[in-house]
């Protein structure tokens, strides 16, 4: 297995809703390594999105520790967590992925602008990435002028343009028709193959599970299966 980018050790997550405790993760040990194309799968409520959020420094565990890019998340402030996400992680969400007041190109540039990349380099990289995801001529369009599939492609472009070590994608194909979903998946698989970009999905889409070279199944907050395909 390759070097670990994100690692969860004995992670337990309990949600307390008006005194009712729900265990979302129950002592999970998991790590994702450089260059992986992995998926967390399982039924609703199995804890896959919770694990993805915790590995993405968006949520904190009730117990256990999480290490991302060598840094233990529990020791970081909110601002340091923001900086870590900005520098090391990329995100693709199920919906509401883009900033509606920005064009596709500005959305892609958003992360680089936060990273402090100069304007000229920003423009060049944004154009190149948009070209790569097949949206070369649509950089000036606002999100509402794009189809769902095109919006997700912009989101993928934005997720990879900052050169993150790990891209976390939460149900990226959930709102797409099967043809568009397949094209998006091909795109991400290609990025993984050609650039070595690491992807970790949470999904219950069989197509994503099939494409993933590592499939981790969760049930009731526990990992019940962790299998790798031949290429993994």
């Amino acid at each position: 297995m390759s070097d670990s980018i994100a690692e969860a050790r004995g992670v337990r997550k309990v949600y307390d809703t008006r005194g009712v405790e729900t265990v979302a993760l129950d002592g999970v040990d998991f790590s994702v390594g450089e260059g992986e194309f992995a998926a967390l799968a399982g039924p609703s409520g199995s804890g896959k999105t919770t694990l993805l959020n915790i590995l993405g420094a968006l949520d904190e565990p009730s117990e256990g520790s999480v290490i991302v890019a060598g840094q233990e998340l529990g020791k970081l402030t909110a601002t340091e967590l923001s900086d870590l996400r900005l520098a090391k992680l990329g995100f693709v969400f199920q919906a509401y992925n883009l900033i509606p007041v920005f064009t596709a190109r500005e959305n892609v540039e958003f992360v680089m602008e936060l990273q402090g990349v100069g304007a000229a380099e920003r423009h060049a990289r944004a154009d190149a990435v948009l070209e790569e995801v097949g949206l070369g001529g649509l950089g000036a369009k606002r999100p509402l002028e794009l189809s769902g599939g095109q919006q997700q492609r912009v989101a993928v472009a934005r997720a990879i343009v900052g050169r993150p070590r790990l891209v976390l994608a939460d149900e990226p194909t959930a709102n797409l028709d099967s043809e568009t979903a397949a094209r998006l998946l091909d795109l991400m698989a290609g990025l993984n193959r050609h650039h070595g970009t690491t992807f970790l999905f949470s999904t219950h889409d069989p197509m994503v599970m099939e494409a993933a070279r590592r499939l981790v199944r969760l049930k009731d907050g526990r990992i019940v299966d962790d299998s790798r395909s031949a290429g993994g």
Binding site: D59, T79, L86, A87, I99, P100, V101, F102, V111, Q115
Partner: protein
């Protein structure tokens, strides 16, 4: 434009109707603030002008202690140096020497105590409007009076209580500076209609040289009233004169007319209180607009925070949204109100008959006047921007404190 400001500016226009309503409320507030402050400034200046020009002048020079003890014992001497300095000061439009004391005025069996003010008619007309307030007859003759041509102008109410008609000779009886008894017959040549009934009931005016002879006062004076280009010049001119003149006191109009100053302060207080309420309402409007906008965009803010936007940056984006909303309203408000005030400043609005009657009673010209002082738009702008900024604090804080994961869960 920075990323934060660019995002904020575009967010402002996402819901045009809501932003439009908020901007309209701000425009209305700015418009009302600028107009009200300009109207108060214009009206107060007019009141001060009218009050000062009625009798006191903008500034009054007296001998030491005269204001507390208005007797012939407290005098000043207008020597050549003093006169030259007053003539040379470019901010002084006119000055009028006066001798003021009290006398018993008698006609037949009627008698009445009154102030006797000796004035130089020519100089007096450069400072006050006394000569323009003639009700019957005429004002005092200009130039030195000859022996036997002693003239007196009485307040109309004083004339009525004495039963005096034009041409009547009334006896003025008093004590001169030399402590000798002074009494002379003066011919009534006119009566004055004054806005202050008390003054009209107790004022008699004679020529300065007659007063000097009557009170055996030599070249002494009770006071010198000054008219300046504007009431705004009172402080600097008073300071300048105080530094150059010795042995005299300089009194601004508000020391001589304290009740007018108090009225202006109270009127300002009432107006600012009303405007404060208006500004608070606008603040809540902005607060509501920004809060609604934040609520609608919770998930989007969570997504941006997930991508690496720091909490401080989220705070600043929301803060800028509020400032831009207030700023747009402010700009439009100023663009609408300033030209209007400038036009109104040149073209006072005549008041209706009823209002005109009321203003004339207090000696004011029956017009609504406006004045735009630089502090007005600057103060209005600062107030609205501060209010916009303050209204943003809570929503900005609320937006920046949220955890991305909670925001992302929001539908």
């Amino acid at each position: 434009m920075s990323l934060e400001r660019r995002m904020a500016w575009r967010n402002v226009w996402r819901n045009r109707r809501r932003t439009g309503l908020c901007v309209a409320a701000t425009v209305f507030a700015v418009f009302l603030v600028v107009l009200s402050v300009a109207m108060a400034a214009g009206t107060h200046e007019k009141m001060i002008e009218d009050g000062a020009l009625l009798h006191s002048g903008h500034l009054t020079i007296t001998g030491p202690g005269y204001l507390d003890d208005r007797t012939l014992e407290r005098f000043l001497v207008a020597d050549d140096d003093l006169r030259a300095r007053l003539d040379a000061d470019p901010a002084i439009r006119g000055w009028a020497p006066r001798i003021a004391s009290f006398a018993l005025l008698s006609l037949d069996r009627a008698s009445h105590g009154a102030a006797v003010v000796g004035v130089d008619p020519e100089r007096e007309s450069t400072v006050t409007t006394l000569s323009e307030r003639i009700h019957r007859g005429r004002f005092l003759s200009a130039g030195p009076s000859g022996e036997g041509s002693r003239e007196v102008v009485l307040g109309e109410r004083l004339a009525q209580s004495l039963g005096a008609e034009l041409g009547d000779e009334i006896l003025l009886y008093s004590v001169a500076y030399s402590l000798e008894t002074a009494y002379e017959l003066f011919t009534v040549v006119g009566t004055l209609k004054l806005p202050e009934p008390g003054l009209e009931r107790s004022l008699s005016v004679i020529q300065l040289d007659e007063a000097s002879r009557f009170f055996v006062y030599g070249d002494r004076l009770s006071e010198i009233a000054l008219r300046l280009d504007s009431a705004d010049d009172v402080e600097p001119v008073a300071a300048r004169l105080a530094s150059r003149l010795s042995g005299v006191e300089i009194h601004p109009w508000y020391e001589l007319l304290p009740e007018l100053e108090q009225f202006v302060i109270l009127d300002d207080l009432g107006m600012y209180l009303m405007l404060a309420v208006l500004v608070v309402v606008v603040a809540f409007g902005i607060l509501n607009t920004i809060l609604m906008a934040i609520l609608e965009r919770t998930r989007e803010l969570g997504m941006m925070m997930a991508l690496g936007l720091r909490p401080g940056a989220v705070f600043r984006v929301v803060y800028w949204e509020s400032t831009f909303t207030a700023g747009v309203g402010l700009l439009i408000g100023l663009l609408l109100s300033i030209p209007l005030v400038l036009v109104l400043a040149q073209n006072p609005i005549p008041l209706g008959e009823e209002m005109a009657g009321m203003t004339e009673i207090v000696g004011m010209e029956p017009v609504m006047t406006f004045k735009l002082k630089p502090l007005n738009p600057i103060g209005s702008a600062a107030t609205i921007l501060v209010v916009g900024a303050l209204a943003a604090v809570y929503p900005a804080f609320k937006a920046s404190r949220g955890r991305p994961v909670d925001a992302l869960r929001t539908l």
